[in-house]
């Protein structure tokens, strides 16, 4: 890489945009979870939809998933990726104005998306429900995001590209590819379009998209976050850098094939299902290698744990990552999937990942990043510790109630009577799930309250402060130093 030119005078990091993304992510998490809690309450008391179309479960559920995935998770990833890429490249972000464009445009997109979903516009593909005008806007903004991110890498002042940037880069590239291919559609009006694909092909393309969105956004992107903030927060180098690179490639290679495990026992060819099942099982190896790498990295960082409430959340998130990454391949086995498919078990799996892994690690990083951005200690460490316990109790309640509900549902659906007929009716089974829904509502609410406490805490930390100016180290280094003293 001798061709890299080191720019002469490094300026300061652009951190205002990072803070803006962080605040947006916190707000979206509150909005998204409020929608989730309300949707969960509707499953207990259906009358809560008030006979008002935008509040019906079908619409609210999509608003929930869009707000948490695209509002919360993507904003958090954009913010942390900008924070990380500057500090691991020792350079101010490439084209800060473009970064701000991404910020405003992305928030507008998510708002427009939520409004259009409330109005009932829906492209009919899960996690890609937004209609074609918004899809085009997403593509444009995503390309700009890519330009800013990869532009920063191109002008970096450190030779090696740090592992976080590989994960963030894969997240940006793969999501662009997935989004463009899956959203190809023929518009018939401003708010209606039909997918270019039909039948089984449509299903395969959709779940190639859906699964890899989980893979490269909810897993890959967040691993980028983990690989920067975990070593940083614990002030320890990554346990095995080599393992992290190895598992990156193994992960990127095996994830891409696993999509059809969402389509077991459907009309797609059986060998495609089997392939997906095998690849899902293989995926266990890189996922767990990554988890072990993370756990071993913190294992000697005892001093930091005492001072840093965020680190606790990250450590816990690794346990849930391990759970979701073990449960997933198991559910991809056809004999398990026959029971779990279409049941609340899947919802439990989703949220052990989404709450236990994605939300907890993000919260942990925010507790670390925000005080540093504004140069102030966290407003209340005690409140953060209360948040830790609320979050843990909330996820556990959520996941366990959904396991119970899922097993009940799966077994009852398949139960036969003496004549070999289906034993229980749909209504009966739904009624049997009611209590579990109540329990889930409790768990979700506890988690939500924890998030509110965090918002107050971060808000009080930020309020009245400006971001501090941080300059990259002036000596350019030959290797990245995630644990060294860069702020």
């Amino acid at each position: 890489m001798a061709a890299i030119k080191w720019p002469a005078a490094p300026t300061t990091y652009e951190d205002d945009v990072v803070l803006a993304f962080t605040i947006a992510a916190v707000l979206w998490s509150l909005i998204g979870m409020a929608a989730g809690v309300y949707a969960a309450a509707e499953l207990v008391w259906p009358a809560l939809n008030l006979d008002f179309a935008p509040l019906t479960f079908g619409r609210l559920r999509t608003v929930h998933t869009n707000a948490v995935l695209f509002g919360f998770a993507v904003s958090a990833l954009m913010g942390t990726s900008f924070y990380t890429v500057q500090r691991t490249c020792h350079i101010r972000i490439f084209a800060p104005n473009l970064a701000w464009t991404v910020f405003f445009a992305w928030q507008l997109i998510v708002i427009a998306g939520a409004v259009s979903l409330f109005m009932g516009a829906n492209a009919g593909k899960e996690y890609a429900e937004l209609e074609w005008p918004i899809d085009i806007a997403i593509t444009v903004v995503w390309v700009i995001y890519g330009v800013v991110f990869f532009g920063t890498i191109a002008i970096r002042r450190i030779e090696q590209i740090y592992i976080s940037n590989w994960f963030f880069g894969a997240f940006i590239l793969v999501v662009a590819m997935l989004h463009i291919v899956n959203s190809l559609a023929i518009p018939v009006s401003a708010f209606k379009s039909y997918s270019l694909y039909a039948g089984a092909q449509d299903a395969i393309v959709q779940w190639w998209y859906g699964h890899n969105a989980v893979g490269f956004l909810l897993t890959g992107g967040f691993l980028g976050m983990m690989y920067y903030f975990l070593p940083k927060q614990s002030e320890r180098p990554i346990w095995s850098y080599r393992l992290s690179v190895l598992s990156f490639w193994a992960f990127a290679y095996s994830y891409i094939w696993a999509g059809p495990h969402h389509l077991h026992f459907s009309a797609i060819p059986e060998w495609v299902q089997t392939l997906a099942m095998v690849m899902s099982l293989i995926l266990l190896a890189p996922s767990w290698a990554t988890m072990i790498n993370g756990i071993m990295t913190v294992s000697t960082a005892r001093q930091k744990l005492r001072e840093d409430p965020g680190l606790k959340l990250i450590v816990l998130s690794l346990a849930f990552y391990g759970l979701a990454m073990f449960e997933g391949p198991m559910m991809a086995i056809r004999s398990v999937n026959i029971i779990s498919h279409f049941t609340e078990w899947t919802i439990g799996h989703v949220h052990s990942g989404a709450l236990g892994w994605n939300a907890l690690i993000t919260f942990g990083c925010f507790y670390f990043m925000v005080p540093r951005l504004v140069g102030q200690p966290l407003w209340s460490v005690r409140l953060a510790n209360i948040h830790f316990w609320l979050a843990l109790a909330g996820v556990m309640l959520y996941v366990l109630s959904m396991w119970g509900a899922g097993i009940t549902q799966g077994v009852l659906w398949l139960s036969l009577d003496e004549l070999g007929q289906v034993r229980y009716g749909f209504n009966e089974i739904l009624a049997a799930l009611q209590p579990y829904y109540l329990l889930r509502l409790l768990g979700g609410s506890a988690f939500f309250v924890g998030a509110i406490l965090m918002s107050i805490n971060l808000f009080m930390t930020i309020s009245g402060q400006r971001t501090v100016t941080v300059a990259p180290p002036t000596t350019s280094m030959r290797s990245p130093a995630p644990a060294a003293g860069t702020p």
């Binding site: 346990a319 391990g322 843990l392």
Partner: protein
């Protein structure tokens, strides 16, 4: 005593010395029998209730087999958790022997054993309702007790407790997966698969 004043009993545990065999034969074995026994009584008397109208009545022999498997699964979970804990301990600067790990797990598991009394009436939902708070209580005991009993710093104890929870998640989910596979292959409730 453990359930009322955990702190004091943890300190007592940390000072005492245990032989692994002793703890196992005197305590773990008996506590481990509680849940399967309750389940046996409950399932034979009331049937297995998934929240629908009629409970699922299984033949006594099947119930016996299920409860025996349950017992062995619990024992396996207990012993493997202790051994894994012993193995992990090296990383986290805890040097106590296997007996201390056994003792710790007995204490941590106590709320769950107590909660499993609910198996006497095997309604899946009611059991969940009782066992989930017990589980959160157990986790709390684990985070609190581990550093004291295993004599390590609270911070390393926190890390190790999280790792243990990771392992227990996996063990539990595997149990779920194995049970489901058994049902699909015809052992357990009659399913149309």
């Amino acid at each position: 005593m453990v359930l009322i004043r955990p702190q004091a009993s943890f300190v007592a545990l940390s000072e005492a010395h245990f032989s692994a065999l002793h703890v196992f034969v005197r305590l773990a074995l008996w506590l481990g029998m509680m849940p399967p026994l309750c389940a046996y009584v409950g399932m034979t008397k009331h049937g297995w209730q998934l929240g629908t109208v009629e409970p699922l009545m299984l033949p006594k022999v099947t119930i016996g087999v299920i409860c025996a498997l349950y017992f062995f699964a619990l024992l396996f979970g207990f012993i493997s958790a202790a051994i894994i804990g012993r193995w992990m301990a090296g990383t986290y600067g805890a040097t106590r022997d296997l007996g201390a790990h056994f003792a710790l797990l007995v204490v941590v598991g106590a709320p769950l054993v107590l909660g499993s009394l609910m198996h006497l009436y095997p309604d899946v939902f009611l059991n969940l309702l009782v066992l989930v708070p017990c589980l959160i209580w157990s986790m709390f005991l684990l985070y609190r007790g581990l550093p004291i009993v295993l004599q390590t710093t609270p911070e390393q104890g926190m890390l190790m407790a999280s790792s243990m929870i990771g392992y227990l998640f996996v063990a539990f989910v595997s149990l779920l997966g194995i049970s489901v596979c058994l049902w699909v292959y015809g052992i357990g409730p009659r399913l149309g698969v």
